[in-house]
């Protein structure tokens, strides 16, 4: 029995649930799932979101067990996983909508005001009467003032926040420019003047909002996919209630609950063993690959793998609070001390704003000194602010960001944080964790070459009958598909079956009577874990060891060639790390490190002026991921590590790490180019403005021209980026 009630939301007689879907790729799938669900009585809503691979279902409250919905989808040939939307995602959806609404209002105003402005400009050189011009100006004011007040909110708010915190960002000069342009235009219109700048301010807002909306929707898509990935991995735990076993989502486990963990399952919550003995694989927590024994009274941690026996565990912490105390403290400290990286845009703004504002002031004083009169001097000074209002500067960075994040997306890298791109571009040292990062989470058979194919095949088929991690790895390595008939499992020892009258056994060396072969294998592969196989009188021992990611050697060599310094910091034993380091020819490696040691090493590197990218996956890596300048995690990493990492990469290959570094460097270069383009544009336009020669027509032309220029240049950030990720979670089918 499975209990999904944790994910169900009740609302006035209807119950609803959100699910992440696997295997949905086309319109046919959408129709099939929706039809299939509506075929159930009492389902009132079923809607698949093909972009985000999600499903929203509603039904009459109490009429359907939510597990039935998941089963129904499984019958249709897809997998569905209930999820809870993270609060970050909800606020991002709201933010995207708000920006779109602002963009709609600004675009409406820009179109209408521009229409009126073009009439005035052409009238000014022909036969427009002053009354008609005033009428058009007042009409523009009527549209532009409320529209700017509404659509300018994102900029005004952000500028106020920055000013309150006593620093400037790009939104400060934008807000000042827009406000002054509007104020000046109203004043000029009031005095029947020839020029008004209503069009400039609404057009500026429209361009900037377009850039920001794109940036935001790209970010929203990334979070949606990250939430899906988390849901697909969300573990179920077997809760013991009385005599009944209930499959319950891990999030719904409370302290005091009894949980049953079968061999081969991951332990979902921190707790104390109250029944059974087993071995525990701690590799995801400490990086250590050797197994530890667990017996009643032992403390076990979430994220570890139960290897051999059935365990009953009493939960001591709720799943969300489940964490090694030591790691928790380190993580909080590292997060608090995380460098306050100042984004490129803000650095540019802090240089730009004082220069532009003092130029405007000097222009005012200069014209006053030359005896131009207060009114004219103010008008010219404000026109300086309008022409330099950072339209191109405001677009220069978001435009590149959108293009680069999209390219990373296609390469299988999801960015968790907005400024990760810039920090990645800055890296000169890369620190790798070993287990699960350089190596794959599953081990490989080291001595497969010396074993004949028939024995391998038979052992693999027998292994399908066991959930022991090494048996699972064996079955996968052999590619076994058909399980043997009548397989019996002896808890904690192994599995046995009979084929053609011959007994077959797979399990511990004692169980298979293969001590001699085991000592041979252990001598040949000192750090390997072994399982034995016996067929009649034949004895074979399989030695397992960590498998490097397929392309690890090539990627590391490439990174070295690109000038990065590479190091391995691992919590595993000396010998295992030494092997991997030799295979990858990495000289700087350290083994047996605690999480605190790892942070200390990273701090040392940073003190020496190096900018460190940490790549790791374990619970023990989470604090160092937060302590590094920037960090990445593979998608197989623990939840905590992914939360601490700035970016997540998908798939079994290491290549996305190299691609992310390459693309981010390129993007950073284009960002800087864009800033220079914007500066050059200002350098040309500024003297014209200071001379008092700017008309609204010149302002509009300059603004559109420079915006189009930086946007077109931003497209270069994706040049050379290929679609390299071809895995199971397609963004586009």
């Amino acid at each position: 029995m499975r209990d999904f009630s944790h994910f169900v939301k009740h609302n006035a007689g209807t119950a609803g649930m959100d699910l992440a879907l696997e295997g949905v790729s086309c319109a046919g799938c959408v129709a099939k799932i929706e039809r299939g669900l509506f075929a159930l009585p009492d389902v009132t809503k079923a809607r698949v979101n093909l972009t985000e691979r999600r499903l929203a279902v509603e039904w009459t409250d109490g009429a359907i067990d939510p597990a039935k919905i998941v089963d129904r989808i499984a019958e249709l040939g897809y997998r569905a996983h209930p999820y809870e939307a993270a609060s970050a995602e909800k606020s991002e959806i709201a933010e995207t909508r708000f920006l779109l609404r602002c963009l709609g209002v600004a675009a409406f105003a820009a179109m209408n005001v521009m229409l009126l402005s073009v009439s005035v400009w052409s009238g000014n050189v022909s036969d427009i009467s002053p009354e008609q011009r005033d009428f058009f100006h007042w009409l523009s004011a009527l549209i532009a003032l409320p529209a700017s007040a509404y659509a300018g909110q994102p900029f005004f708010r952000s500028a106020l926040r920055a000013l309150k915190a006593r620093h400037t960002n790009m939104d400060v000069p934008i807000s000042i420019g827009v406000t002054l342009a509007l104020a000046l235009s109203v004043y000029e219109t009031w005095h029947h003047a020839e020029h008004a700048y209503f069009d400039a301010s609404v057009m500026l807002l429209t361009f900037l909002l377009a850039g920001r909306t794109l940036d935001q929707s790209m970010r929203r898509r990334t979070t949606a996919i990250a939430t899906n990935l988390a849901a697909l991995r969300a573990d179920m735990a077997t809760k013991v209630v009385g005599d009944e076993l209930i499959e319950s989502p891990v999030a719904a486990i409370a302290p005091g609950d009894l949980v049953l963990v079968r061999p081969g399952e991951r332990i979902a919550v921190d707790g104390v063993v109250i029944g059974g003995t087993s071995e525990i694989d701690n590799s995801l927590v400490t990086g250590e690959t050797a197994y530890l024994a667990a017996r009643p009274g032992a403390t076990v941690f979430s994220g570890t793998l139960n290897v051999s026996g059935l365990l009953r565990i009493k939960a001591t912490k709720p799943a969300s609070g489940s964490l090694l105390d030591e790691i928790d403290k380190l993580l909080q400290k590292a997060t608090a001390e995380r460098t306050r990286y100042v984004r490129l845009a803000d650095r540019a703004a802090s240089l730009y704003a004082p220069v532009v504002h003092s130029t405007a002031l000097l222009t005012l004083l200069g014209w006053l000194f030359l005896g131009a009169g207060l009114h004219d001097s103010i008008v010219i000074a404000i026109s300086v602010l309008i022409i330099t209002c950072p339209c191109a500067l405001g677009l220069a960075i978001p435009a590149v960001q959108v293009v680069a994040v999209g390219a990373l997306f296609r390469a299988g890298v999801l960015l968790n944080r907005g400024d990760a791109l810039e920090r990645l571009a800055d890296v000169d040292t890369i620190v790798f964790d070993k287990t699960g990062t350089l190596t794959l989470p599953e081990p490989e058979v080291a001595n497969a070459a010396g074993i004949d194919a028939q024995t391998l095949n038979l052992a693999g088929r027998l292994a399908l009958g066991s959930r022991h991690p090494l048996a699972v790895a064996l079955a996968r390595a052999v590619g076994a598909r058909e399980p043997l008939p009548a397989v019996v499992e002896q808890a904690g020892r192994g599995v046995l079956s009979v084929v053609d009258g011959q007994p077959l056994k797979l399990g511990s060396p004692d169980f298979c009577d293969a001590q001699a072969q085991t000592s041979e294998a252990s001598a040949a592969y000192p750090d390997a874990s072994v399982i034995a196989f016996s067929q009649g009188k034949t004895r074979v021992v399989f030695a397992f060891r960590q498998r490097l990611r397929e392309d690890a050697a090539a990627v590391i060599a490439g990174l070295k060639q690109a000038g990065y310094r590479i190091a391995i910091l691992s919590g595993d034993r000396m010998e295992s790390v030494a092997d991997i380091a030799t295979a990858l020819s990495i000289d700087a490696w350290q083994a047996g490190l605690s999480p605190a040691d790892k942070i200390a090493r990273i701090e040392e590197m940073r003190k020496a002026g190096r900018r460190v990218l940490m790549v790791g996956d374990g619970l023990n890596d989470a604090p160092s991921l937060a302590a590094a300048n920037v960090s990445m995690s593979p998608v197989s990493a623990t939840h905590l590590a992914q939360a601490a990492a700035d970016a997540i990469f998908l798939g079994e290959r290491l290549e996305p790490v190299a691609t992310a570094l390459k693309l981010s460097r390129r993007a950073f270069k284009v960002m800087k180019q864009n800033l220079w383009l914007a500066v050059i544009y200002n350098a040309v336009a500024l003297p014209v403005a200071i001379a008092g020669l700017v008309t609204p027509l010149i302002a509009a032309a300059a603004m559109s021209g420079s915006s189009i220029l930086v946007t077109a240049n931003a497209l270069r950030a994706r040049a050379g980026a290929k679609q390299t990720w071809k895995g199971a979670i397609p963004w586009k089918s």
């Binding site: 319109a27 039809r35 389902v43 779109l100 709609g104 009409l139 549209i143």
Partner: protein
Amino acid sequence: MEVLIYLVPLALLLGLLGLAAFLWTLNSNQYDDLDGAAWRAISDDEIGPTRPAPSPEDTVRSAP
């Protein structure tokens, strides 16, 4: 130029209508699933709870 007296409000009204239509599409979640919407537009019929339940065999299958 008296023509402006009704042409200008008319132009504004049309613009506002466009804006209202955009805000309506936004509020009715029409930008949430752009990929799905493209396919739904060419789908043969509406899928909804009011229809008699179809058997799984007659659902549309298309190549992924």
